[in-house]
Symmetry: C2
């Protein structure tokens, strides 16, 4: 491709409304253009990157016996009614009526479509397992579209669905998919992507993992233990606490006028926050019913864990009415008479000598012993972990918190969709059982942008060679000079004949423009042909990441460059 | 791929609601499953065919300097308001409101998106020409979805857009695209696809061609002249008529009680239909205003030509009111006093001694001379051509009518979209001019089904090797016998290592089931390993189209089969 013919402008100014580096470089480098909020068209460089990622994914999916299929973007609402998601999912699911008045939806994920494709006459157990996947456009009417391709409304996704007759078989396949994901990310040049235990959210099922690229701009909070390798999304992370015994004291009501927050109360009473029992009030979304969570005063509630525990959507209480009997700022577990569901987090288990609210304006108790002063029927696990917390696996106080972008996920779905949608197999006894499913997603465009987040310098992306839009960026400096033009044209032709992907800058522009454009396109190998290099019978070959810079003789440049490209590809692809 | 693991059932019964052979075979062969009316999911065999077609298209688009891009499926309505199509197009255009209440549309074509991607600062003339294309899902809420993948609502399409600064340059590129299209269809195994002149319809612009695969199930009517090669879609076909002079007679009113149709009147008066002047009444869609078309009595109105001539949407008159002054059944051009726009088709030019209505219940005229009895200010060309009509190019009465499926189209759009949407370039004088555009489409799924329509036998499709889901179908007959299993497994591995795409039927099924499944999958080369063939130290290699059937020694089978595949591919790809 000649740069002089290529559509898409490159420029120096950081565009307005750009929050993150991948968005800035991909707008400034002519990779994409916004069509509407969270909806982009891709120019040639981005389209090529995305296609290369797709091909890597396809190869790896085929290697784990995936069958590539294609589901529709537009589906009848009835299919989503069968699974119950038509009503459960809110306005992320785009809906419209077709010309016949039928309710239709735009696919944001394809569990329903995959079950529809697979079901029919119940098949014998021997027909299982199998996996089907597609690479396709999806639309999710995301309320917080932002950050270029990181969080969009329309996106290309690889989604895969596996079908099994036992949990054991699902787990075996899940492990293969997990490994294929590791290979995919490594082959895309980001071997540092890590899998973390995750919350399954609206997908249903139990065990699931997210593949995270750790970077400060990530929207997800990741909990890791450097000691043992434990990794979890914050949403799903267990918290382990060890409480020191403080020594029993009698429960005593004390006046704490105007002291409402944990900080105020503990300072006023000369206690540490962890020596208090804090109350946090939520409401169920549907009924507005109150939920009061008691937990150790220095901790926060993990709302995802709380949501999973109570089994419905919740939100922090917007208003606490007088009628509820809950005394805001002074809520405590002793003689609590509020109209609310009361939960005790396990951080309170076995604690004593705590400060807590007295359910009376202006008063707290000191000397609360959970064991002696209360009858707690069971503790739940709804507190957030924190940096320095005890690792739930190795027990060391080594928990570390970082941020990451989710570039893929894998879920053990179980029978959620097969059961509701009637996908059964015939077991050996002739009876029928629900098929057990797994599902496996990768956001292709998001992966592209995420790679840019972690592979760039101040001037532009540094694309890994396996997904770079081209392998070689050929700059003809002073292409107005016939000897430069001729040498560069010949090298361009020769490299293409040798199977090397070349973007050729043959424009009559300054070295400054030429190099800054090349930086923005981020092609890993740069070749410069100029009067100067030709003067020494050579072309200059340099790495975009500055790891090498050398001359190659004009006569052997093509083979040398092709060799460098081959070696670079082999190095990235050298994964287990 | 092992057939035993592959998803998708094959069966013998013709499914209900299947009208055409490609639909029957693609349902019976486990290629696809309907999700909703006109919306399908594709199983692995169809997905592979479609991908191969996509790759052929991509290669040929790249060869004519196409830049692959990607436009979104979901677009803001405002983009379509700019071009005027949001209001012009009816319910084929699927519309919905996003969560923010914005009007959105699903892309059925991407002229607007292409202009949005290209426009910005007006570029210098030297930045042109260029072409961009995408291969992507589209949705058109088609009222008459039918025939499997031939006419669907959701479909994969390659759409390309070229941008020029002169009509001459557009025409030069148009010719390149035309040739690329010939190569694409030839490489997909249907070199018989022909280009016909077409009506541009809602796309705007003037010159356009459709690429047609001639088959009786086609929805389009194609006009061809075997004498000179003239080809046109019926919608755009000129009609040339030569009228014999019948000899002038005086205009005479005659009673024709109850004789209303041309057939009745001409029989009653002992005339031929072509010796009459017929009236056909239409109405403008928006205003219900009447349009009366007079044409020679044996001809029909070509509604597309009429629509283009009057410049608005029209329909046959549903009711002719008394107030209009039009006397139904007796309409004639002499003393016509109806409230209508009156058009004369050129088939009447110079005719004499015709029968026509007298605009009076129960009466006609005889002896009408267009020249003497009327003052016609201009004739239009709105009559349909017919088999045996005079060719408008070579003048021989050789016009032939056939039916075809449109598998691709190319349009010279002109400035329709650039003008309305503000896409300009800076010309040499420093002024600004509208960019001139062309557009070029191919329906990928439709092409797949169309190939099946013309490449099949009674038992299933016969896929051309370049787009076949696999190249070789390996049948292990009696795979329960270890020697068969071993030889077939080895050949399967060896062929895959040699780069041959193999579907391997290793199931313990009868020869009947095995062969009928193979027929339905339509893979061009079939290899049979059985106790019998092994008994003679061989495997059997046969063509799906029965053009050859031979033994290959077990030792050399892999190389021989790979050679056959190579030769078959080379033969199809051997196009200019």
């Amino acid at each position: 491709m000649k740069l002089s013919n290529m559509l898409g402008d490159r420029f120096r100014e950081t565009p307005a409304d750009c929050q993150i580096i991948s968005q800035i470089f991909m707008i400034r480098g002519g990779y994409m253009k916004q069509v509407a909020n969270g909806i982009y068209s891709l120019y040639m460089p981005a389209r090529r990157i995305v296609r290369k990622i797709e091909n890597i994914i396809r190869e790896e999916m085929d290697l784990i016996d995936g069958q590539e299929v294609l589901f529709p973007v537009v589906m009848p609402a009835d299919l989503w009614r069968e699974s119950g998601r038509y009503d459960k999912i809110g306005s992320e699911l785009a809906r419209f009526k077709d010309r016949g008045g039928n309710d239709m939806v735009l696919g944001m994920t394809h569990e329903e479509a995959s079950v529809q494709l697979v079901r029919g006459t119940p098949k014998a157990e021997s027909a299982y397992p199998f996996m089907i996947y597609q690479i396709q456009t999806k639309f999710r009417d995301e309320p917080r579209a932002r950050g270029g391709l990181i969080r969009v409304r329309e996106f290309t996704m690889k989604d895969a669905y596996s079908f099994h007759t036992s949990q054991e078989d699902l787990e075996k396949y899940y492990a293969r998919a997990y490994h294929a994901y590791e290979r995919i990310f490594a082959r895309c040049g980001v071997p540092e992507v890590v899998a973390v235990k995750s919350d399954s959210g609206m997908m249903g099922g139990n065990i699931s993992h997210e593949f995270m690229l750790l970077t400060d701009i990530g929207e997800d909070t990741i909990v890791t233990c450097p000691e043992c390798g434990y990794r979890s999304n914050m949403e799903a992370a267990d918290l382990v606490v060890k409480n020191e015994k403080l020594g029993e004291e009698a429960l005593t009501k004390v006046a704490t006028p105007d002291q409402k927050t944990i900080e105020e109360v503990s300072a006023f009473l000369n206690k540490r926050p962890q020596d208090t029992c804090k109350a946090v009030v939520y409401q169920e979304n549907l009924t507005d019913k109150y939920i009061v969570v008691f937990l150790r005063g220095d901790l926060e509630v993990n709302e995802t864990k709380l949501r999973n525990f109570v089994g419905c959507e919740i939100h922090p209480a917007t208003e606490i009415t007088e009628a509820s009997g809950i005394v805001k700022g002074f809520i405590g577990p002793v003689n609590f008479k509020g109209d609310a569901r009361v939960l005790f987090d396990k951080s309170l288990d076995g604690t004593d000598n705590l400060v807590c609210g007295a359910n009376e304006e202006g008063y707290h108790y000191t000397g609360l012993s959970i064991k002696h002063d209360l009858k707690v029927e069971g503790f739940c696990d709804v507190a957030k972990t924190y940096a320095g917390a005890i690792c739930p696996v190795c027990g060391k106080p080594a928990i570390s918190i970082s941020r990451g972008i989710e570039v893929g996920n894998i879920f053990q779905l179980g029978t959620k969709y097969s059961h509701s949608m009637g996908l059964q197999y015939q077991n050996k006894d002739g009876g029928f059982s629900d098929v057990i499913m797994g599902c496996y997603g990768i956001g292709v465009g998001r992966l592209c942008a995420s790679v840019c987040e972690v592979r760039h310098d101040d001037y532009g992306p540094i694309w890994p060679i396996t997904i770079a839009p081209w392998q070689v960026h050929l700059c003809a400096m002073r292409a107005d000079k016939p000897e430069v033009r001729e040498a560069a044209d010949k090298l361009y032709d020769d490299l293409q004949k040798a199977g090397v992907e070349v973007i050729y800058d043959d424009r009559p522009v300054s070295a400054g423009v030429m190099f800054s454009d090349a930086d923005l396109l981020g092609v890993p190998v740069r070749v410069i042909v100029s009067p100067k290099t030709l003067g020494r019978g050579a072309v200059e070959v340099a790495a975009r990441d500055k790891s090498f810079r050398q001359d190659a003789s004009v006569d052997t440049a093509c083979q040398e460059i092709a060799g460098i490209v081959r070696d670079m590809i082999a190095k990235v692809n050298d994964v287990e």
